[in-house]
Symmetry: none
Subunit: 218 residues, 4 copies
DNA sequence: TATGAATGAGAGTTCATTCAT
DNA sequence: GATGAATGAACTCTCATTCAT
């Protein structure tokens, strides 16, 4: 229906959208995009609503019109993070079959790809986890749930691998899974902070080898 | 009760220091200690000068009397971080001899020990790096130098190891060193955030194995 | 009772008006009704245009379409207040003849009846007088005129009564009339705020006796 | 100790107080005084913290330094209201003996005197009651308690008088007491809004006669 | 040595209002 | 006839900082 309308009005001006629905979508997209970039580079608290609005070519009021509060902007971004990064990774692991090595491989590959394509969303979850840790905020809870979903899937895979004798068993599953996650998160942050100095292919490969060599029993 | 204690512990009264010099030192110590804990748990920006002062049993004015600014409190803590964590690790690597494996081992052990004993200082450097990243602040510069000293030492060791054929050479030294640092930092943060759920021995060991198995050529 | 009225007014469908004129009238009626209730319970400034609109099942824009401004909504309500409460009371006094006691009685009865039937409109005038007092607003002027009309009629009656020797004369007419008005207003507000705890008949009677016994010479 | 100091430093400058304690007291006094005037003339919500501060020759920050929130400024004023107007009136009634007429007389006289001397505090309670009515605010509760104390004392006196046959008994005690309070409150507001037009002596006398003649049985 | 009063810049948020559709 | 996007001014509140004492 919507696409039909677009087909008719061929050279639709995308900067000043014709319909209200389009305008709404465009504004929300602009605001979320700028907020994502700003939250990552400056942190949530150090970013002002005014900055987000101005970066999107709007005013503060527009942010509150669409999101009601600054916290809701972050929440909307976390919804996307779940959808674009957490869920795909868990799905990739699930569809990799029963073999723990395949699952770990799926995890590592999925995160590698996301790290290349959706870096910012994953980074957001990691950085906000640190910023909101211990705040008692509702967002802290949300972030914990988000990360826990991935960590749970990882821990389960690690345990299965240990039971089957393919993953190193002298270390507790919880601790091993935690170090994997730590490496994963650490690489995201490092890549973000030093990315321009590094070769992406090499960096991603090193990350994968670390996880694999560190986890698989020899 | 209090006076009784005072009578016993002759002139070393730490609660009510006899001399001005001691009082000065005690106040500074209290302020820095509380600031360290608060910066880590809440972040720098989210921590108010008032909170620091109150936690130390003083008032805001005292913070400004001793440190002139909030930023200086952090700088003082970063001085200690360098002294207590960065410098010892670099020294340990230096005194490990020429063998790259020994040096890497020294790095990994040193960080392991620090992770157990001076966690907070190292954590401070890592968390503040994230918080100040891209701020253009003078502190950002200071943090970069701090971390760079450790990363430079690590990169040099990695390069030597690659040249001698003992470290995996198919990945650039810069990228390999970065993943090591990423794992290191990631483990600090993970330990800080989930420490109570994890067995420290296992976690530290997993960290060491990750770094070793991921770095050494097979 | 209400459905009976509807049965008489045959095809007056108030929920989905057939003609635009009817729709217009229905929307205006809904908006004014909700605004009246909200201004009384929350005050003018504490009531938002959005609240009024939502309560009437419309959006903010509709309020501005019909009334141009929030102030105009109040002005429209004050027009009705004059028509439904002030004017009838003055008319009742006028048609009570020349006898001051009859006139006072007409005032007191009229206000008693209005207090039972049109409480909200009279209350609006009283509460808004307090809220806008000293604001320098145009509405303040409007409210002053509204109340002055009633107070003038009352003062004149009091003066006549004093001259004829039927009302107590040791107190100035202005002051006596003011205390009558004060009692009147006070009772409206008290009834509004505590109405559910009180017996209306008794309360209204006490009001009438206060005014009469306090005014008539013994 | 403090008075001793004052005695020594004879011509103490009261505009720029010497000691911090004096400065604190002076600032608080100025802020509360201006807040009282503004809350009465403009209402609580229509008064900004900035206005209060400026009127007292200070800045917004000072208000928050002393009171932590705008609501606390009002609460502090309500404490004074209780102390200066409610409590004295109840005390006057209590010390008037057992005779209901004496008690009513004490109430009416006390309120008359307060109306002349502490008008603003009593007015504050009355106006804020209207403004906060139905807000669900903590302050609403506080105001209800405040007024209830006076109303309870009044109702009890009315009941006793009715039982002894000296007050008119054909009207419920609750309703009679409510009309007395309504008259009382109405007169405060009327006096405040029209005071400059009226003779205070006459107005106060009219108020007293209204209450007495309306209450006492003939 | 340390306090407490006070400031001023700026944050998040609300809301009456406008206007294209 | 009515909507929904967007604005801009104003509001409450926070906080690093200064300074007289």
């Amino acid at each position: 229906m919507d696409s039909h309308t677009e087909n008719i009005a061929e050279n639709v001006d995308r900067e000043r959208p014709a319909t209200k629905r389009e305008q709404r979508a465009a504004s929300i997209e602009a605001l979320l995009g700028e907020a994502l970039a700003l939250f990552i580079t400056q942190g949530y608290h150090a970013t002002t609503v005014e900055e987000i609005a101005q970066a999107a070519g709007l005013t503060k009021g527009a942010v509150y019109f669409y999101f009601k509060s600054k916290a809701n902007v972050l929440k909307a971004l976390l919804d996307r993070t779940e959808e674009l990064t957490i869920a795909p990774t868990i799905a990739a692991m699930a569809s990799a079959g029963e073999d723990p090595e395949d699952r770990l491989s799926a995890f590592v590959r999925s995160q590698s790809v996301i790290g290349a394509e959706k870096t910012e969303y994953m980074l957001l979850a990691i950085l906000m986890s640190a910023e909101f840790n211990g705040s008692g905020d509702e967002i802290e809870q949300r972030l914990n749930e988000l990360m826990a979903r991935m960590e749970d899937a990882l821990r389960e895979t690690v345990m299965t691998g240990q039971q089957k004798g393919v993953f190193r068993a002298e270390i507790g599953a919880d601790e091993l899974a935690s170090v994997i996650m730590a490496t994963n998160k650490g690489c995201y942050v490092e890549w973000y902070m030093r990315g321009s100095d590094l070769k992406g292919q090499d960096f991603a490969r090193a990350f994968r080898e670390f996880v694999f060599d560190g986890t698989v029993a020899r």
